[in-house]
Structure formats: structure tokens, C-alpha cells
Amino acid sequence: MAFFEAVRLALAQIRVQKLKSFFTLLGVTIGVMFLIAVVSIVEGMSSYMEHDFVGKLIGVNTVTLRHIPEIGGDISEAEWRAMQRRPRIKITDVKPVVDALPPGTLWSAEGYDNVSISSQWSKPTMLQASAVEGDYFSIREMKPEKGRVLTQQEMDLGTNVVVIGQEIATKFFPKLDPVGRQLKVAGLPYTVVGVAEAQGSIFGISLDRFVIAPYRSPLRHVVNRPLVIDAIKIKATGDADMVEIQETIRQVMRGRRGLRPSQPDNFAIETSESALSFWANIKSKLVIAGVVLPAIGLIVGAIVIMNIMLVAVAERTREIGIRKALGARRRDIMSQFLVEAATLSTVGAAVGILVGITLAQIIAAVSPLPATVAPWSIIAGVFVGAGVGIVSGIYPASRASRLDPIAALRQE
């Protein structure tokens, strides 16, 4: 009863004084807008990282052995330079590592670099080419859209054949079927045997710009020094084996490198989890930004609302006197002004939610950043809005409720 009454009164107030209300609500609106936008982007990136990024770039249940981690956390300049001096992973490391793992474990070895690629239909361009061995296509879950992937025989013999990505296909073989045609990789003639299915993109970077050749083909001499490879990938058959596999690889590599127990690893073992923990680290910082930015807006909003409410109490002293004379108790006056303040700022929050969602959608549309509006952030926005109103309304409302009815009625 009195609650809806107060809500109605507050809404009428907003309608009557549009400009004043706009400025009153600006702080809360901006605060909630930031809350929604930042949370949406962080949530969007989060689901992206967890589902697409890690799956596409690293692969689920996959362990990667490198000499330097590809996705690093906070690494100092000195640490980075120390890492650069680490010995490289060698093709000769592959067999001992794989032999130590349970039979049936999928593995691949790869070396890659940016090399000049050209065809009869296109000028040379620097693009990434990989020389791979083992179960590369199974681990990447890469399937051919046209033609086929590399056969075991081609891998073993080091035939000059390549599987290419969608973008390579359209760039170098415009409106043509690339299968069976020739592609020059670092000046070497290769025959295209297949075009892989579209891999999509991460953060706006296409994952369809690749050329994959057998490791034993001449490309290996171009991408790395002799025997050197960039990564060994191992795919576990289930979750349970992951820790064991990492430990086995670590022990084998430490043994091969002759590391004493006191010495740290001079190689990097990466899993989707380590990439995710790196992401969690970034996310926590973004979430802090997502809290601090709205907080500034909300504090400003709270101060403005408190001021506006104090002015309202002063302007409406006579009204308060009338209400008290007619039987309003302290708590009736108190709740009237509290509800009014809460309604004001909830309206501000509602506008902020709409603007925030729009902002998130715009950012998602014009930038590679994904955005997903989290339902909880909308609910949080509403509660934060009402909360700010109540907190900033307490002092003015209590002043109103303690007015002496006689003095209040006498006021002009």
C-alpha cells in the first residue's frame, strides 16, 4: 500500500523533472552500465577461453612439451632471457617420451615457422608452415573438407605434399579446387592433397592460415635447425591420466637432460589447465576493474542521490508536516523517502542495464572481443541500484522522519 504509493510518487517525480532526474541518475546509470558491460565482456571472454580458445589452440586433455611456454603468466625480462638460453626440444626426444607413456597414447611432433608461400595464382606471402609427424590430425581433430589429410606413408617417406587451411586455399587457388595443384613452400614444390575444414578464429585472428607438411619432407630444414622441433603434443585418453602423463614426460626429459634434483626444469609442459590458470589470472584482474569502475560511478551516484533527497526533504517539509498530522508515523515517513530514493536509483540502474547491454553488444560487434550478458549481472545491477538508493536515502529519510510536525506545518 504505502510502498506502491511511494514508488508511484517517485516515478511521478521523475516524469515531472526529467532533466534533474537525468543528472540525479547519471552516476548510478554509469556505474551499472560499466558493471554490465565489463561483466559481459569478461564472461564472454571466459566462456570463449574455456570452450573455444583452449580447445582450438591447445586441445582438451592435451599435454604440450616446449622449451618455452607459449602461454605465459607474469614473466620478468630476466626469466625470459634465461628461458631463451634453454636447450631446444629435439626430434630424438620424441621416441623416449612416447615409449614411456601407456600404449595407445596419441602423440605428435611439430616444427613451424613463417615461410614464403606462393602459387601460380598469387604472389609470395609470409605464412606459417608446419612440419609434422605422428597423430597430428587426430590430436587437432582436424578433418579434410576436400581431399584428405596426410597418410602414414607420406609421413614416413617425407613426400612433398601439404594439407592447407581455408584461407590458404582461397588466397592461392582463387575459385579453383586446390587438390592436386602445386604450392611453393619456401621455394619447394609441394602438392596439395587436402583442404582442412574451417577452424574459425580466436580474438579476430584466423586459424585457417596454415600449411602442414610431413616432418620428413624438406620443409623441416627451413623451419628449424637440424633435429630441432618446436613442440611434442601428447593426448591422454581420459582426464585421470593427465597428471601421470605430465610427470612421466617430466622425468624422461629431466633424465635425458641430466638435471640434478636441485635444478629446475629447463623445458615447459603446458596443458589446457595451465592455459586456463593463466586466463584465470587475467580474469581476476579484469573483474577487479569490473568492480572498481562501477564503484566510482555508484559512489558518485550515491552522493548525488543523497543531496537530491536532502533537497527534497527541505522542499517538502510542509508535506511531511501534513502527513504527520494525518497520522504518519516516523517509519511511514522514513520508508516513503527510502522507497523514493531506491526507486530513483533503481530506475537509474535499469537504464544502466539497458545501456550496458547495448554497449557490450556494440563492443562485441565492432571488436574481436566476445560478450555474453550474464543474467546474474542484471540481477546484481538491479540490487546494486536499489541498494545505493537505500544507503544514500537513509540520512535524508531519517531527517525527514524526525521533523517536528508543528514546525513542519508552519513552514511556507
Binding site: E319, I322, R323, K324, L326, G327, R329
Partner: protein, 271 residues
């Protein structure tokens, strides 16, 4: 029970009920009994003794005017009777309840249930419709919305404003505004209708119109107490209490009051 028409005021029942031992509740006939109420104000270090021991007893269904020059304490008395304030000393019994010792929220409840205010400046909420203004006491009484609406409509019809319900105060004449205020005062069936200079802001024609409304209410059984400094207005009441310097100077039937005015002139009250 005595006839209220021809027994002198200052004696008998009134005397008895106000001189009763402190703390003894008056009988049901009495809607207002004050026993020696005092009120002082601190006006910047100077103590103003606004009321210096006032004994008043008013029966149910009486129509009483409280008169007195400015500074006589009539506004203070009206605030105390209206439960907007509490006395520093003495007892105030309203409908058998000792309100002089009540706390803020209890006083608010008493104002809501027992008292209907009519003010000189109408004191309507400017942005609310007539209907909504009249509903207001019922909002604080916790009456459900439907019933509230019906009762407010009935109250407005009672003051011949059934066709002005959706008008805002600034769309109404002074007399209409005061009638809205009267409807608001009556909507919760209060024990007393308490009017503070109800005609102070009205021209004489409209004043007479409002006085006719009061007369009708009083003959209908409503207890009416009216504070005024105009003898013409006061003489509409059946009983006139005159205050001077915080004390009761006289307490007479209308006829006797009129007689006194005729012999010594209005200035004796006005000065």
C-alpha cells in the same frame, strides 16, 4: 446526564471532572479532559509560558470555539489537543486515553484515529487529487485500497464535492479546498474535528458556507473544536472558551458570550 443547553459551564460536571484526582480516567461522556496542562517554550534563552495550567472538559457532540488574542496560548492549546505536542505538566485525556504521556508513534496513531484536522491554509498535498488527499489518513490507518477509495468518495460527496474528485488543489476554489480538507478530516471517523482558523483564508461568503458545513456536522453529532480569533466565527459555536495569557479567561454558552461581546465590545477579546 444534564442538558447541555441551560446549565452554566463553569460549574458542576465540568468542574468535577477536571478536579478529579490525577490519573483517574474520566467517564465515557468526555471526549477531552485536560487537568492543569502547562507548556513552556525556550525562545532563545527566554522562557515563554504559553499555557499556565489549563483545565478544559469537552463532552462528546459539543461544538466549541477557542478564542483569544495572539499570544494567549490558543495555538499551543490547539497543538496539544491535536496531539501534535505534549504538555510539560498536567494530564490530557482524549476519549479515555491518557495521551499526555504518549510517545511519538502512539501520538501519530491517535492523530490518525481520533482527530480530524482542518487548517487555515488547507494543507492539501498540491500534487495529489482531491480524492487522493482525502484517502491519505486511511493510507496511514492501513485501510485496503478499495475500501479507502469508497470511503474517500463518500466523504467528498458529504461535502458536495462528488464532482471534483480528480481535481488538484490548484484547480479548486478556496472554499472547495477547505471542503476537501473537511472531507479528509472526517474520512477516518475521528472523535473530534479540530479546526485552526478554518475561515482565516476565505472571504466572508465562503466563510459562511464553511460555517454551515460545521453547523451541519455538529448537529449530526460530530464533536467540533474550532480555534479562531474572530468573534463572528466563534459565535457559530455553542460554547466559547476564551484564553488570555495562557489561562482560561471565560468559558460560556454562546448566548452569554454574545451578550458579553455586545456590552464590552469585541476589543475586550481581541486586544
Amino acid at each position: 446526564m444534564q442538558s447541555t443547553e441551560d446549565v452554566p459551564m463553569s460549574v458542576t460536571a465540568e468542574r468535577q471532572v477536571v478536579t478529579q484526582q490525577a490519573g483517574v480516567a474520566p467517564s465515557k461522556d468526555w471526549v477531552i479532559v485536560t487537568r492543569g496542562i502547562k507548556r513552556e517554550y525556550d525562545m532563545g534563552g527566554e522562557i515563554v509560558r504559553a499555557l499556565r495550567g489549563v483545565d478544559v472538559a469537552i463532552r462528546r457532540n459539543e461544538y466549541v470555539a477557542i478564542m483569544g488574542p495572539s499570544g494567549s496560548g490558543k495555538s499551543t492549546l490547539m497543538n496539544l489537543i491535536g496531539c501534535l505536542d505534549t504538555p510539560d505538566a498536567g494530564e490530557y485525556w482524549l476519549s479515555g486515553n491518557l495521551v499526555s504521556s504518549m510517545a511519538d508513534d502512539e501520538l501519530a496513531r491517535v492523530r490518525n484515529r481520533e482527530i480530524g484536522f482542518v487548517f487555515q491554509t488547507f494543507n492539501l498535498l498540491p500534487r495529489a487529487t482531491a480524492l487522493h488527499n482525502v484517502e491519505l489518513p486511511l493510507v496511514y490507518a492501513g485501510v485496503p485500497a478499495d475500501e479507502r477509495r469508497n470511503r474517500a468518495k463518500a466523504a467528498l460527496e458529504r461535502v458536495q464535492l462528488g464532482n471534483r474528485m480528480t481535481h488538484r488543489p490548484n484547480e479548486l476554489s478556496g472554499g472547495q479546498r477547505q471542503r476537501v480538507a473537511i472531507a479528509r478530516a472526517l474520512v477516518n471517523n475521528p472523535s473530534i474535528l479540530l479546526a485552526d482558523e478554518p475561515t482565516g483564508n476565505l472571504d466572508s461568503t465562503t466563510s459562511e458556507e464553511i460555517m454551515r458545513v460545521f453547523e451541519d456536522l455538529a448537529s449530526g453529532g460530530q464533536t467540533v473544536i474550532m480555534v479562531t480569533h474572530e468573534p463572528d466565527i466563534a459565535s457559530h459555536a455553542r460554547r466559547v472558551i476564551v484564553l488570555r495569557d495562557g489561562m482560561i479567561e471565560s468559558d460560556d454558552r454562546r448566548e452569554k458570550f454574545a451578550e458579553r461581546i455586545a456590552t464590552s465590545g469585541a476589543s475586550s477579546i481581541h486586544r
